[in-house]
């Protein structure tokens, strides 16, 4: 069974790009446009991996990650964001993120990050 992935990003362009990278090798179980949707979709699908943006409306990615990992300690979240601030990286790790990749990224960066968290 392929690894299942939830994509959470407020940018349609970026969701599209991630989908193109992941489709075929992974099962995309849902796409969220904000942190609230990400939490809801996680509860619905319990994906193996969440690709989580940080800067999103309504609820940001760090808050959503905290909520997901508190409710589901086994959840695997990879931050996938344009933000490269050290403080934010620390906050993401504290929230329970297991990986962190910064945009813009190439396909190998994404696959490597996923492989680090969920080895093939």
């Amino acid at each position: 069974m392929p690894t299942s992935v939830l994509i959470a990003d407020d940018s349609e362009f970026m969701r599209n790009l991630l989908r193109e990278i992941l489709e075929g090798e992974f099962e995309i179980v849902g796409e969220a446009e904000n942190g609230v949707e990400a939490v809801d979709l996680y509860g619905e699908h319990a994906p193996d991996i969440v690709m989580m943006d940080i800067v999103m409306p309504i609820r940001n990615g760090i808050e959503a990650t905290t909520e997901i990992t508190e409710e589901h300690p086994d959840a695997s979240v990879i931050m996938c964001t344009s933000v490269g601030q050290e403080e934010k990286m620390k906050a993401a790790i504290k929230a329970g993120a297991e990986g962190y990749i910064t945009k813009p990224f190439q396909k190998p960066n994404v696959l490597e990050a996923i492989n680090d968290v969920v080895p093939a």
């Binding site: 940018s11 349609e12 362009f13 970026m14 800067v55 601030q85 403080e87 906050a91 813009p104």
Partner: protein, 399 residues
Amino acid sequence: MYVDIQSLGEFSDLASQGADRAADALGQLAGANVYVDVTDVTLMAAGDLHESFAGREFVGVEIGLQGGISGQTVLAFELDAAESLVERLMPGGGDGEFVRSGVTEAGNIMTSGFIDGWADHLGVGIDMTPPAYVRASGTDILPDGVFDDDRQGVFMFESQVSSMDEDLEFAIYMLPEYAGFTDMLGHDGPVGEAGDAVPVNKLPTFNRMTEQGAASAADNITMMTGTETDVDVSRLRFVPVQDVPAELGTETVAGTVFELHGDPSGYLAILFDEASAEEVAGGMIPTETEPGIGDMEKGALRELGNIMTSGFIDGWANVLGTSIEHTPPQFVHDMGSAVMSPLVTRLGQTQDHAFIIDSTVRTPDGNVRCDIYALPDQRELAAALDRIEPPATDGGLPR
């Protein structure tokens, strides 16, 4: 309120590094060879921004900042550059919403690259709001809050980014919230020795003074050539010394340069593009001459520069309460960056960053353009500004 020049220099360097990261991000996204031309800090009254942005159409991304720095960042593409970017990101295009999403995300990624360095330098987190797509003319591209008080000072970090491959050019304008930024860099009184800090509340007055000097120089052109001219833009920027030549680009210019002696000392360059130089010199020479810039034209431009310089610096000297002398004019005819390099080399022996006071004089039809660049000694200018009377409630000298 005083802003420490060393801190301003550090933030200028951070902005420059941030712009490099933003350009790298764009290069990766768009598959283009992108580089930063120059990054500078403009200090001006908010009301003066209108002239800098007038008549330009932009597509951009606006992001609000909270935390370590408050304010707004706008990343703006000229309209044709945005179209090039879209073609690069989404060959063949897409529907309007998807295109906007692509431009917005590209702006978001570049802006993050810009902000990250500031956050890490300050050792704080800077929260960013989700990016908002904006398309607007002139200063409408800038956040509304900037114009809450037109007399309020503005720190505008501006980076010009270009591509070697095609006409993909854009600017990053970062406008930190004035009060918060000056609180972070500022002091209530002078720090260190005289000239170590800039009294920012006096900058609007200084800008008015520079505008009046440029207006006087424009009047001189009109009187001597019969060509009606007016001041288009006048602003005070803070730039790493080594970046000053790049500000002038590779276009060939003709004009005069002067060394200033007094308080402040420094350099002044009065430069025309070649066509403008010929037209202006032609207006001063009563007889028909060969096309090009010959000895007659050089002499005319020297004389014009001499008179314009006096008109320009007399206002400074009067307001600053000092005496400023200038050397005889030295004629220059070369690429703009090559004209500026020797001046900068000398200035760079004593300072890492430079204030550039930059005024553009144009004819209404745009056929004649003259750029006046003043490069005062940084410490002497700061010390001289300190002696200006505090701005009046109307923001300083009459507009």
